[in-house]
């Protein structure tokens, strides 16, 4: 099939097998994209990319679902101001993921912050107050579950919480909110 998508801001058009996982396509296009098939797919969480602003495991996305999508790998994400907020938070707190999971965790935090933004803009979940509390994206449980998709245990969840909080403060300051 012919796959048309935007990868790191560049329009790409290529012919690939319709069921080819996106991580394999990205590996072939970019040398910097993580090469890790040791996990046998969906096991390590190192191939996370932003697809239309939402963090996704690229190994779970077949080519035919990526058609028309805007894909941002770490190579593209690191040039954005959103990434600078996170890197500033790393520097400020002195907490930094290891080199193995750095790219993936940074994108994951970027995806979380995008979600926080959406939640502020519109109440994400309507309904039962207790259910709403369980679902709160600011809770530690939520953060633990979201970050748990990457199996690397180099950084404690409380440390990640500090980074997320600080990065979000920077983001809000920058956008004047």
């Amino acid at each position: 099939m012919k796959l048309n998508c935007t990868i790191d801001g560049t329009q790409q058009s290529m012919v690939v097998n319709a069921n080819k996982p996106l991580n394999r396509i990205l590996e072939e296009l970019s040398d910097s994209f993580v090469r890790n098939h040791g996990c046998l797919d969906a096991g390590c969480g190192n191939c996370i990319v932003l697809i239309n602003g939402a963090a996704r495991l690229s190994c779970l996305i077949p080519a035919f679902r990526a058609n028309g999508a805007a894909i941002l790998t770490y190579a593209g994400f690191r040039k954005t101001r959103f990434c600078h907020d996170i890197e500033r938070a790393y520097a400020e707190t002195g907490i930094k993921p290891c080199s193995q999971c750095y790219a993936s965790k940074t994108i994951l935090i970027g995806g979380l912050l995008n979600r926080y933004d959406q939640t502020r803009a519109s109440s994400m979940i309507k309904g039962d107050a207790e259910n709403k509390a369980n679902y709160s994206i600011y809770s530690r449980d939520y953060l633990e579950r979201e970050m748990g998709i990457n199996i690397c245990k180099c950084t404690d969840i409380d440390d990640i919480a500090k980074v997320v909080e600080l990065a979000y403060t920077y983001r809000r300051q920058r956008s004047g909110r």
């Binding site: 319709a18 096991g43 779970l60 077949p62 994400m124």
Partner: protein
């Protein structure tokens, strides 16, 4: 490596009728909903099987959510995240929490309800949760008619979730039917308890999904419904055992709890022989601890 990989064709039906016709004509078509299960199979891409794919996410009937005062009805292609968003008014807090705990939002927004229920050999937490609360599913059974079998007809039926699986947890309707809707009952005064022990993605042979629902009555419980799921090894929901539980007077003493635990062990051995010893032991201990918690009014 790429030499042996066959490129599959992708079929994208726009209506349920198209889907039934295409699947009826070619049962080997692989149904692709969210893709979180299929894509995560080891060597999904490199094994070279290249079965043709039928993507069902653009069928309006399968992506619709509607609700009444009594239940929520969701199409099979509704993602778990959408279910949580639309069902938060209707679901009990324990059910809501259990469904939230299935995976991170990244996976929940990709995994669909139908996909989670119809995986051929692996049972996930959602099947245990929905089965415990008495959810029902609509399936369309496919059959070929006419002299040459060219005409595809389908018949519709509603089933409780537990009827989709045999005692070994194998999905009974693979390539015979298509799951189209799920009906989730609204919250009642029943009390629900859900637990997961183990990591379902990495330790399938030791993970236990536990679901228990009951109606509290003075000196006892009524309508108890216990459901146990073992990812690769079984699915347990036994009417006899539930009846025995309802005859138990509360608070039970430790001897009664031990007797019930032994009965559960026996029933598990009979109906889920493929469950591993650690899964049976974990189930027994979970059951005992929940009974103690109920008798002390903790849950």
């Amino acid at each position: 490596m790429a030499d042996n990989i066959k490129a599959p064709s992708i079929h994208i039906p726009k209506s349920l009728a198209d889907l039934l016709t295409e699947k009826g004509k070619d049962p080997s078509l692989r149904i692709f909903a969210g893709g979180s299960y299929i894509m995560a199979r080891p060597f999904f891409y490199t094994d070279g099987s290249g079965d043709d794919i039928i993507s069902i996410t653009q069928i309006p009937e399968l992506t619709k959510v509607s609700q009444t005062d009594r239940y929520l009805e969701a199409g099979a292609c509704v993602t778990i995240e959408q279910l949580l968003n639309s069902g938060s008014y209707l679901m009990g807090k324990e059910t809501f929490r259990a469904i939230t705990s299935i995976a991170s939002s990244m996976v929940r927004s990709q995994a669909t309800i139908g996909g989670a229920l119809c995986t051929p050999d692996t049972r996930f937490f959602l099947s245990c949760v929905l089965s415990t609360i008495g959810a029902q599913v609509e399936i369309r059974l496919l059959s070929k008619r006419g002299l040459k079998g060219h005409k595809i007809t389908s018949s519709q039926m509603w089933l409780p979730v537990n009827k989709l699986y045999n005692s070994e947890g194998v999905f009974l309707y693979e390539n015979k039917a298509i799951l189209t809707k799920v009906r989730i009952p609204a919250k009642t005064n029943n009390i629900q308890v859900f637990r997961t022990l183990g990591n379902p993605m990495r330790e399938m042979d030791s993970t236990v999904f536990f679901g228990f629902e009951y109606t509290p009555v003075p000196n006892g419980i009524s309508h108890p419904n216990l459901c146990l799921a073992f990812p690769k090894n079984g699915f347990f929901q036994n009417l006899d055992f539930s009846n025995q539980l309802s005859s138990l007077s509360f608070p039970p003493d430790s001897q009664q709890i031990e007797d019930m635990a032994k009965l559960l062990e026996k029933k598990l051995e009979e109906s889920c022989p493929s469950a591993t010893p650690i899964q049976r032991e974990r189930s027994r201990r979970l059951f005992v601890s929940i009974l103690y918690q109920i008798s002390q009014g903790i849950v």
